[in-house]
Every structure is written in structure tokens, then in C-alpha cells.
Symmetry: C2
């Protein structure tokens, strides 16, 4: 099953699509030059929102799950990109230790792990799984829905190195976003490549810093294309010292929501957009679609019920929320079979390797579709493994639409590269 | 239409396929380490012969045509590989000058040129075509069968640089094998990247040197896998000072054919192969399937008719033949729809990007299928854009078969890298 875009998107996004297609060689060269200066994250997925009048990234994941949602046709691109990444970082690598999240019962996630193992095996590495779960004290087989199994093994830490019993990897790939903090077992690994680095984890990352970097990238890119950066950049502001449970620091949030809504209203007026502006308040360090709230009026914030306040207080792995980002809400006007859809783009090294639509039949156009648990259906992009077709009517070609998504996805990845440079504690030694 | 392998291949090749699949991470790492020491040719296509008991490259083309035979699904891999190649060689490149062969009436070839232009445009370069044809003195549009056009432009040479009017490329990509010699306009281009280098052209290349390099590569690889290199390596010898037109130097050819047939017979006996050995005599500098002769008995060489002697005297662009390579003939036991088929593998940089079967309904299992003109049908590999599937019954899975072809294709490409190092006149300056 492949999705078809059934919204008749007109206006700025079609113009953007056309401009992006026409400028393809210039855009690709621009990325090439940026990657000469900035190291791309090892891998990355980016959630996009396409409002028809605006296309923006809303989340950039540096420990992407969901590789299992890519189609078989996309995987060779992933393998080739993985080869290119390994070649640059650690060409002599033989063994790769993959450290996944601890959800051993989420079959979707386990299939993601299995897909990552396939990709890196095909790219030429012996891949084994080490778990951060200290309950697992012996190799443990987990059954997969397709009849296969995954073997989780307890980590073995020696002085400078991390491995498994009889398995000494030169490279460790994290697929765990470290929301629960950096486990001591991962600290001080100066003899091995640890990818992504520890400061890419949610103990260090802040959404506000990412979107500040993204703003910088979007401005540069908009200048290249001669366009208004707002068309690809969600406005935002930030508040520290917020405590939802105790209702402290809410003035800041209220003031910022109000100011943001005014700014959006002005932009909507400028473009003749007939939509009601909204803001999204998110935990600055949150992930997994947790700690997110849609606000259409600043007044709503003084009337939060206990349930919402609790929801906003804690995010994944019990991490406390005390900083929030207040971001321009971008509705999604893409639909697949009458359900609201949001594109997700996957990248390895500097390459777009695939993507899919996150589709949610029960959610509205302005809601967060990355809800924990089930309820959304991944649909691979139609013909995304075809090259874009210059000269097609804008909005009429799936490969062209996907190329544009790939460009915006890569802008967010580049922003992540800026962000990781800014937060690099220089503690990692790449030898 | 996709091909299906209808020969029931058993024996050594299925064992080889299984061993190659099982050794995938080790093989990929081995290639990675080889590419650290040796620079892959910019692009490359390799003709293979699968005899069921033996799989060997028979021709390695460093100026590959036929990119138009790759499917739409394969092209994104080609684009990604082209991006990786450009990134390494000339990341700041903006303009690419592509210099094709002079056949302006061969629509298959022109579609190949068009496909190359698409690939490098998508990879982020402005691509224009410059012609070596001095008859073309003004920009000339050529109509393509799909309704598109190609514009050939006359070359403009200034002191140190080659370009077109109002087009100064930093990189020049040759898709012309220089059989007619190196045109002065291409000499001394020290300020630009000329890819592949001039010594990759047929004025310098010799098949015998390529296969000597291949023998070295095959031995290393066979050692890695613990197998007999003969299973992937065609035996050969060489004669200089041959003149078919005047029937001089034929003693050498006869003696070598005889010795080679004896060696093959011994190998066939060792493996219990019930086939009649044959040798292929080829112009050492020949290409385009020209200057090739099948010999089943050395005596045949004393009875050559005038037509054969003429055919063997001259190859593409009137180049004289005076050295020949005498190579072990490898029958092809693959068939598509009852027609004899020969796989061709395409590579850009170090990556396999696709392939197809060259199918010829009117030729035998021991004949050259690369006949000039039409008469063969390219059929894209079935599911070649799927990842290999470890654990499948050998010979039963098209992606697994294709992975094996990709490995052997890359061995030939690696041999070409060795060969280009050996023949490098150090005249090229890469700055």
C-alpha cells in the first residue's frame, strides 16, 4: 500500500517545490559545501509539517526509531549511505555494538532494531546488541513478529572499552536517546567510536537550541533561494524555570504564547492565510511525543487542569520538565485516505535514505501525531525511490514532493550538526 | 519486464553464492580496506559470465555506456554514489563538462548520455555536453526518442582549461574511451579534474594488464574466502607482434591457445565438468565487442579466412591490432526466456548502482554477446534493488544472485584500480 497525496496543495508550497526543483544543482552544491564545514549526525529522522502555505520541521531525532517503516526498495540506499558513513568515520571497523532502547516489548521498536542490524551488516560490520537494562544478566533472545529473534546481551565494561562477552567493537552505535541520563558504563570511552556522541542525548539536547540553529540554517538557505525564511521556519521562543505541577513560571509561558500568536497572525495576514494561529508548548528536552500541549489562546494556560499539568511535568523516562519551548504550530494539510498525515524523512550520514507518512485517523490537523503507543500507520512514500522529475506541474509528482521533503529534512539535519558543535564538551576524542 | 533466472544452476556457483552471502561483513570490510589503499575508477561497468561452475568478469569498461538500461528504481543509488564520488574528488565543483562518444545517431547511446546528465544534475552539478567532433562548430540539438533533446557544444580550449562558450567547468567527465587516441584538446589540463584520467583510455589500456591485475585481486579474495581462485578468474596469456592481415606472429597465438586449452581441460577434469573448453582471442586494446574470436582448437588458427583475418586486424575507430590476449572462454549458462544472457554490473565510485542482463536470442552459450548494433535486449535485474537475503536456498533468490554479481563486479573494478596505478604516467596533477 502506498499513499497518495489527496490534498490539493496550492500557493506558496507549490512555488517552493518548483523553486527547489529548479535550483537542485545549486542546492546540492550548497549542502556539499556545508558538509565540508560541518559534520552531519551519524543518522537522523525529521518530522515535517506541510501546511500548504508553509513547510517546516517540527522534530529532529538523533536516535531514530522507525527504520522498519522504510520499504525494501529504500534499504539499499540506507546500506550505501551507511557504507559511506563508516568509510569516513571508521573504515577499519569490523564489529559494531548497537545499544537500543530498553523497550523489549514494543515489537515496532524491535523491528526497527532488526532493520538497523540488517543495514549495518550489509554495510560490512558484525553487529551485536548490548543492552543498558541491568536486569538482563545473560544473553536473552526476544521473539519477533516475523518469526526471527533478536539477542540482547549484557554489556561488558573494561577500563577503557565497552563490549560484550567475546566481542570487542571498535564502534558503538547508540539507538537510545539517553533521556534517563548518561549511564556510567558509556562514560570515558576514549578508545572507541561512540556514535552519536553523548551530548546528542536528551540530557544535553534542548529543542530551543536546535530550532535556533535551524533558524540560522533556514535563513542561509532562504537567501540562496531568494525566499522568505518563514515559509520553512517555525517561529519560537523559550521559557526556563517552569513548573507545571506547581503552576510556577506560567507568566513567562503566557506572555510568550501571546507574543508568538501575534507574530503568527501578522504573518498570516501578510500571506492572506485564513487559518487560526496556534502555538505548541513542548518540554525543551522532551521526546517521544511526550510533554506537548497545543495552545490556541494564552488564556488557556491559566485554566490548565491537573491532568494536563501532570502530563506537562514529566517526559520520557521520568525526566522533569522545567524549560519549555513555545513554537509556532504548523497544521498539516496532507491527508492519506481521509486521515491526517505528517511526513517523516530518514537520513544516514548526509544522505536521504527514505521516509514515510505518519498517518493518524483520529487526530486533527493541528495535533501532535507522534502519540505514544499505536494509533498511527506508517505509509511509505509512493515512488520515493524515483528521481525527481523537473518540469512536472508542482504538487502533481510524488517524487518531486519527496525531493522537497528531503531538502527540508536535510536542513534540519544540518541544524543538528550546528547544534552538536555548539554543545560539544570536547570530551570525545576521535582518534 | 523483469528477467527470471531459468537455468537450474547447481554446484560450485551455488556454493560460492552461499559463501559470499555468509561472508558479507568480511567481504565488505575487505573492500573498505582495499579502497583505503586504492582509488576506485570514477565509474565502471563489468560484463560477467556465469557458467554455473565458474563466474568471471570478461570485460571491464572504464567509460561505461548503457546507463539508460538501469531502471528508475536504480537511479537514486547512482545519484547517491555520484554524490559520494564528487564529495571526495571535487566537493566545490559547480559545473561538469561531459564529453561523450561521437556516435550522434545511436539513440541507445544518446539515451545513456541523457541518463548520465540526469544523474550528475541530481547529484548537484550543472552538466553540459562538449563534443570531440570537430565537424560540430555550433551548438547542435539532437532529438531523442522520448521527445527530449541533447545539446552538443563545441569545445573551447584556452591555455590551461577546457570548457564551452560561457561555461567553465572544474571537472570534465569523459564518456569516450579514446580508442582513436588522445585528442590534443584534452592534453595538459592541469587546472581541472579530468575523470577518468587519460591513461584509462584504450590508447594506453591493455586487457592483458587488466586481467593480470584481476588475477592478483582474485587470489587475495579467494584467500579471504578459502576457495580456488579459478572459480572466479579466467586463465589467460598474451602475444605481442601479431598481424592477422599478414598472418604473421600466429605461431605464438597457436602455441598459447593450445597451452591454455590444456590447462582448462585439466581444471575441467579436476571439477568433473563435462564441457568442451574453448579460448577467446581478443585484441589486447580492443573494445566495443570488436576484434574478438572464439577458438575451440589451435588448428583453426592456421585456417582463418580473409573475413576473420580482416575482422581481427582492426578494432574501434580503426585502431590496429598487434597484441592479443588469449583468454579462457567462460560459457554463460544463464538464460532469460530461452535466450542466452550475460549479466552486466554498473558501479559509480566504490558502489554497485545496478545492472542488467544482456540477452541475445540468436547467439550461443560460448559466443560474445556484446555485438555492435542491435540484437540484444537489456533486462534489468529482478529485485536488484532489494537487499540480499541471507539464509535463502542458494540460486533461488534474485537479490542474492545479484549481490554475488556485485561482488565479482567490484573485484574487476578493484583490478582496474590496480591497473590504473600501474599505468599512471604521473602526468595528471590532482590539486
Amino acid at each position: 500500500m502506498v499513499p497518495h497525496l489527496i490534498t490539493a496543495l496550492t500557493g506558496p508550497i507549490n512555488e517552493l517545490e518548483q523553486r527547489i526543483l529548479e535550483s537542485m544543482p545549486a542546492i546540492e552544491r550548497w549542502f556539499r559545501l556545508e558538509w565540508m564545514e560541518h559534520t552531519p549526525p551519524f543518522y537522523c529522522s525529521v518530522d515535517l509539517r506541510n501546511a500548504g502555505f508553509k513547510l517546516a520541521p517540527v522534530d529532529t531525532n538523533l536516535f531514530p526509531g522507525g527504520f522498519n517503516n522504510l520499504t525494501e526498495e529504500m534499504l539499499p540506499l540506507a546500506v550505501q549511505a551507511a557504507m559511506a558513513a563508516i568509510e569516513k568515520i571508521c573504515p577499519e571497523a569490523k564489529n559494531l555494538l548497537l545499544i537500543p532502547e530498553k523497550h523489549t516489548r514494543n515489537m515496532f521498536y524491535l523491528m526497527n532494531v532488526r532493520t538497523l542490524m540488517r543495514i549495518f551488516t550489509m554495510a560490512g560490520l558484525n553487529v551485536r546488541l548490548g543492552t543498558l537494562d541491568e536486569e538482563i544478566k545473560a544473553p536473552t533472545e526476544l521473539a519477533l513478529p516475523d518469526g526471527g529473534t533478536l539477542k540482547l546481551e549484557p554489556l561488558v565494561r573494561t577500563r577503557g572499552r565497552l563490549g560484550l562477552k567475546d566481542f570487542d567493537p571498535c564502534t558503538i552505535l547508540l539507538n537510545n536517546d539517553l533521556s534517563a541520563g548518561v549511564p556510567p558504563v558509556l562514560e570515558g570511552l576514549h578508545e572507541q567510536y561512540l556514535l552519536p556522541p553523548l551530548h546528542a542525548g536528551w540530557t544535553v539536547r534542548r529543542k530551543s537550541l536546535h530550532f535556533r540553529s535551524y533558524e540560522e540554517v533556514a535563513k542561509k538557505f532562504a537567501k540562496l533561494l531568494g525566499m522568505d525564511p518563514w515559509l520553512i521556519n517555525p517561529l519560537f521562543s523559550q521559557c526556563g524555570e517552569v513548573n507545571f505541577a506547581e503552576s510556577t513560571g506560567m507568566d513567562c509561558v503566557q506572555t510568550n504564547v501571546d507574543a508568538l500568536l501575534t507574530k503568527i497572525r501578522r504573518k498570516y495576514k501578510e500571506y492572506g492565510i485564513n487559518e487560526k494561529p496556534f502555538a505548541v508548548v513542548k518540554a525543551d528536552n522532551g521526546t517521544y511525543g511526550m510533554g506537548i500541549m497545543v495552545v490556541r489562546d494564552a488564556k488557556e494556560l491559566s485554566e490548565l487542569n491537573r491532568r494536563t499539568r501532570n502530563k506537562m511535568s514529566v517526559t520520557k523516562d521520568g525526566q522533569q520538565v522545567n524549560q519549555v519551548i513555545i513554537q509556532e504550530g504548523v497544521i498539516t494539510h496532507e491527508q492519506v485516505n481521509d486521515a491526517v498525515a505528517e511526513p517523516v524523512v530518514y537520513m544516514i550520514d548526509r544522505y536521504v535514505v527514505g521516509g514515510f507518512y505518519r498517518v493518524h485517523a483520529e487526530r486533527g490537523v493541528d495535533e501532535n501525531l507522534n502519540a505514544p503507543g499505536a494509533g498511527f500507520v506508517p505509509l511509505a512514500f509512493d515512488e520515493s525511490n524515483h528521481l525527481p522529475k523537473p518540469g512536472e506541474r508542482p504538487g502533481a509528482s510524488a517524487p518531486n514532493r519527496f525531493y522537497m521533503y528531503g531538502v527540508i529534512g536535510r536542513l534540519a539535519m544540518l541544524a543538528a550538526a550546528y547544534e552538536l558543535e555548539a554543545t560539544d564538551p570536547n570530551a570525545e576524542i576521535y582518534e
